[in-house]
């Protein structure tokens, strides 16, 4: 399987100059639009991609990061929608781009209104408690939540964030409930757990890594289909006895609507080549992301499924959906 995909990559690599000759090729600096300000998750990934593209000489032109913050992703999505037919603009989307239009009537641009290019990464998560917490397994935590309904607390992001989605799914499948306390910044969420003000949190594995190594945090389960390389001892949700769907945190690339088909082919191919480079693999490994490459057609399908499932989960969580 693995050798087959690398063979495909090799073939793609060999054919690349050929397809360049007849198809589309960017001629001026390409804008990569992100929805966060400098320093946000998407911004950092976009800049890392720009550096890799330069280092591996993957494009004849430069890739430049454009920050369009605001509207919880809606401003960046609308910016791309306005650039209809623009051949030198791409956008780096995340789950927020998919969720905001579901809950905010003001955010009118969905991924369906843009041109899907490629999915790049899936971000797994782990469920963590403070090191001196009485809960040694997720089952123990759920048991405690059953005994004291609504008493235990989880820190996380907004109520549409993956943190809350994982909680909703677990609550529904076990018939328990605990409180979800929203904090705007990741730092505050971790501080709330380390300060002993909440009992549990869903956290990115790389963020948790150093706190575990320092003996401040303990991981109960991983929100992922397979065990992560750096957490070989920790059960996945399913292995821990909780058969709930694993909701991925996704990042990928879209383009403005109305661009020619050969552009889509060029870009999906370009991003596949990017995800096969040494620098990309190292980046993925360092950040403990999963390689989530999908081409344009698969991404469009993924989007539909993801949106339907998300709508259900949000409805269950009592969140008003507008689309």
């Amino acid at each position: 399987m693995k050798s087959a995909s690398s063979l495909i990559a090799l073939v793609a690599l060999l054919c690349a100059p050929l397809s360049f000759a007849q198809g589309f090729k960017p001629t001026r600096t390409v804008d990569l639009v992100v929805h966060t300000g400098p320093g946000g998750g998407s911004d950092v990934l976009a800049r890392a991609i720009a550096i890799m593209v330069e280092k591996e000489k993957l494009l004849p032109v430069r890739l430049q990061v454009i920050n369009k913050p605001g509207g919880n992703g809606a401003v960046a999505a609308a910016h791309l929608a306005e650039k209809r037919g623009d051949q030198n603009t791409l956008g780096l989307f995340t789950g927020v781009w998919l969720q905001t239009p579901l809950v905010s009537a003001e955010a009118k641009v969905t991924l369906r209104d843009l041109t899907p290019i490629a999915r790049l990464v899936l971000e797994p998560a782990v469920i963590a408690v403070k090191a001196d917490s009485p809960y040694k397994t997720l089952a123990e935590f759920i048991g405690a939540a059953r005994k004291n309904p609504g008493q235990l607390k989880q820190s996380g992001g907004s109520n549409t964030s993956r943190d809350n989605v994982v909680r909703q799914l677990l609550q529904k499948s076990t018939g328990t409930r605990w409180a979800f306390i929203s904090f705007p910044g990741g730092g505050e969420r971790i501080a709330a757990l380390l300060g002993g003000h909440v009992d549990i949190m869903v956290i990115e594995p790389e963020e948790a890594g150093e706190h575990i190594r320092a003996g401040n945090m303990r991981v109960l389960a991983q929100v992922s289909e397979r065990r992560l390389a750096k957490f070989p001892e920790i059960p996945t949700l399913k292995e821990a006895g909780f058969d709930v769907p694993v909701v991925p945190q996704v990042r990928g690339v879209v383009a403005p609507p109305g661009i020619p088909k050969e552009n889509v082919e060029f870009w999906q191919d370009f991003f596949r080549r990017l995800t096969r480079t040494q620098s990309w693999r190292k980046y993925i490994e360092d950040n403990q992301f999963e390689d989530g490459y999908q081409n344009a057609a698969d991404l469009a399908k993924f989007y539909e499924e993801f949106t339907d499932r998300m709508r259900e989960i949000l409805k269950d969580a009592g969140v008003k959906t507008v689309r």
């Binding site: 905010s104 003001e106 907004s158 990741g186 501080a191 709330a192 150093e210």
Partner: protein, 502 residues
């Protein structure tokens, strides 16, 4: 002893010619970025990230940190000269800084801003060096009820920012709180007061409102009264442009106040330099014997907030370097930089990379000295800006305001908002409503609402959580005391009158 050895090692790193050079580049860039409103340190650091990839990590972190604290020095310049707050932390500086400039004391205002920044910036580094681990522990003990109490204390300061009428000040603060509630609610994902505008989904940027009600309103009011406008007085001679001994004496407490408040609030992951600067200004005013002159151009009204926002840098680096927890946009991107270079910021960062940590600490001592030397000679230069005739100065202020707002988000919508808030500020001036309470309400509103709702979710709806925790209870009592200050004043006046009648 361990600290001395570490510091010795750190200076060995920081004094390497290459690192010294990067330190200088960083503080120079920081100063420039700070002076330009809008373009802040996070954007600058993000743009420079690709360049740091081939650098030695020590040199790179020294340079990026230099941009961070260097920008805090420059931030006050446009506040003082043009009433245009360059960044959220220098909004408070407008209150007395611009009034000083109007009285011909722009030089001393700029000078004291640099000196206070140096003093408090250095104290902040001292704090980072000496008490980082215990302070980080203290910061973790802070939770939502404590944040709510801290912000209540901040909001109570509204009575100190009031002009003649307390009622008008409270109304203005309410409008500020309302503006803070615009956007998507974090807890329920509901849109509030967005009027169908997707740009409003993420709320209204603090800097847009501040520049509108301060700078734009100021220009409009002055244009209207054009017959009376005259050039702002700028005294000649370097000596008249720098703070006097008396000025420095007046600021003794402000240096201490700014240093301590800035460092402590900075170390809280939910704190930030805006809150730090407001709190230190409020404290300065509350204890000052010439309280009633604040807002008319007293020098300690510039020194305290400018000091606080510099000391905050040292504080903000505490949770970042000891726990790997960023508390603000700038520390978040510094964290991202460390990760990109292959480090793992977290509780083990300092013990495992002592050379990097101590090199950074030592470079910050050096950088602060560089900044003082760099900024003081700029004072006479910048003071000349005010020699410009109004038909040049006002368009310049307008231009600087617009560029500043546009460069924060790159959106025309924000320019429209700027105009709206300019008009609001103008109306408030005409109707004699103070604008500082509005800004205070806006700065604290969102965080205060969040902290209250988080607290109530933690306690299952019991308000007692706010007073049951000691730190929170103490701060809330202080808030009540602050609210009573005007009443003390009234009581005192009444007592004096009674004495006279006797």
């Amino acid at each position: 002893m361990e600290i001395l050895a570490g510091l010795f090692h750190g200076f060995a790193v920081a004094l390497e010619p290459a690192n010294l050079f990067w330190c200088f580049v960083g503080v120079l860039l920081g100063t420039v970025v700070g002076i330009l409103p809008g373009l802040g340190p996070p954007a600058t650091i993000a743009m420079l990230l690709p360049l740091t990839f081939n650098m030695n990590p020590a040199g790179a972190i020294i340079m990026l940190a230099g941009i961070y604290y260097g920008a805090k020095y420059g931030g006050s310049t446009t506040s003082i000269l043009m009433n245009v707050p360059g960044e959220s932390a220098s909004v408070v500086t407008c209150l007395d800084g611009y009034q000083m400039a109007k009285k011909g004391r722009a030089g001393p205002a700029l000078g004291i801003a640099a000196i206070a920044s140096f003093v408090a910036g250095t104290v902040g580094v001292l704090g980072l060096m000496l008490v980082a681990p215990p302070i980080a522990k203290f910061a973790l003990s802070f939770s939502s009820p404590e944040y709510f109490a801290l912000m209540s204390l901040g909001l109570a300061l509204v009575v100190l920012l009031a002009g003649r009428s307390i009622v008008k000040a409270l109304l203005a603060a309410l409008v500020g709180l309302w503006i803070a509630s615009v956007g998507t609610d974090l807890f329920s994902s509901t849109s509030r007061f967005t009027f169908g505008q997707m740009e409003l989904l993420s709320g209204i940027d603090f800097v847009v409102v501040a520049i509108g009600v301060f700078a734009l309103a100021e220009v409009m009011v002055n244009m209207e009264a054009r017959e009376e406008t005259q050039l702002l007085p700028v005294p000649k001679g370097l000596k008249n442009l720098l703070p006097t001994m008396q000025d420095l004496k007046d600021c003794r407490f402000a240096f201490l106040n700014g240093s301590v408040i800035g460092f402590l609030v900075g170390a809280l992951p939910g704190g930030g330099s805006t809150i730090a600067s407001f709190l230190s200004y409020g404290l300065e005013k509350a204890v000052s014997p010439r309280r009633e002159q604040f807002g008319t151009g007293v020098i300690e009204g510039v020194a305290a907030p400018e000091g606080a926002n510099n000391s905050e840098t040292g504080g903000a680096l505490v949770p970042l370097l000891t726990l790997g927890i960023p508390g603000s946009g700038t520390t978040a991107i510094l964290l991202a930089a460390l990760v990109l270079w292959g480090f793992k910021p977290g509780p083990l960062f300092i013990p495992e990379h002592p050379a990097l940590f101590w090199g950074l600490v030592a470079s910050m001592y050096i950088g602060n000295v560089m900044l003082l030397i760099l900024n003081l000679p700029l004072v006479p230069l910048f003071a000349q800006v005010l020699r410009m005739p109004v038909y040049v100065l006002y368009p310049l202020i307008l231009g600087v305001s617009m560029v500043g707002v546009y460069s924060v988000s790159g959106s025309l919508f924000d320019l429209l908002l700027l105009l709206v808030f300019g008009l609001l500020g103008y109306l408030m001036r005409k109707l004699d409503y103070p604008s500082a309470p509005l800004i205070l309400g806006l700065a604290l509103g969102a965080g205060m609402e969040r902290a209250l709702r988080q607290s109530l979710m933690m306690s299952e709806g019991k308000l007692s959580i706010l007073v049951a925790r000691p730190i929170s209870a103490v701060m809330l009592s202080f808030a009540v005391l602050v609210l009573l200050i005007p009443m003390f004043g009234k009581l005192n006046a009444w007592r004096l009158r009674a004495l006279e009648q006797d």
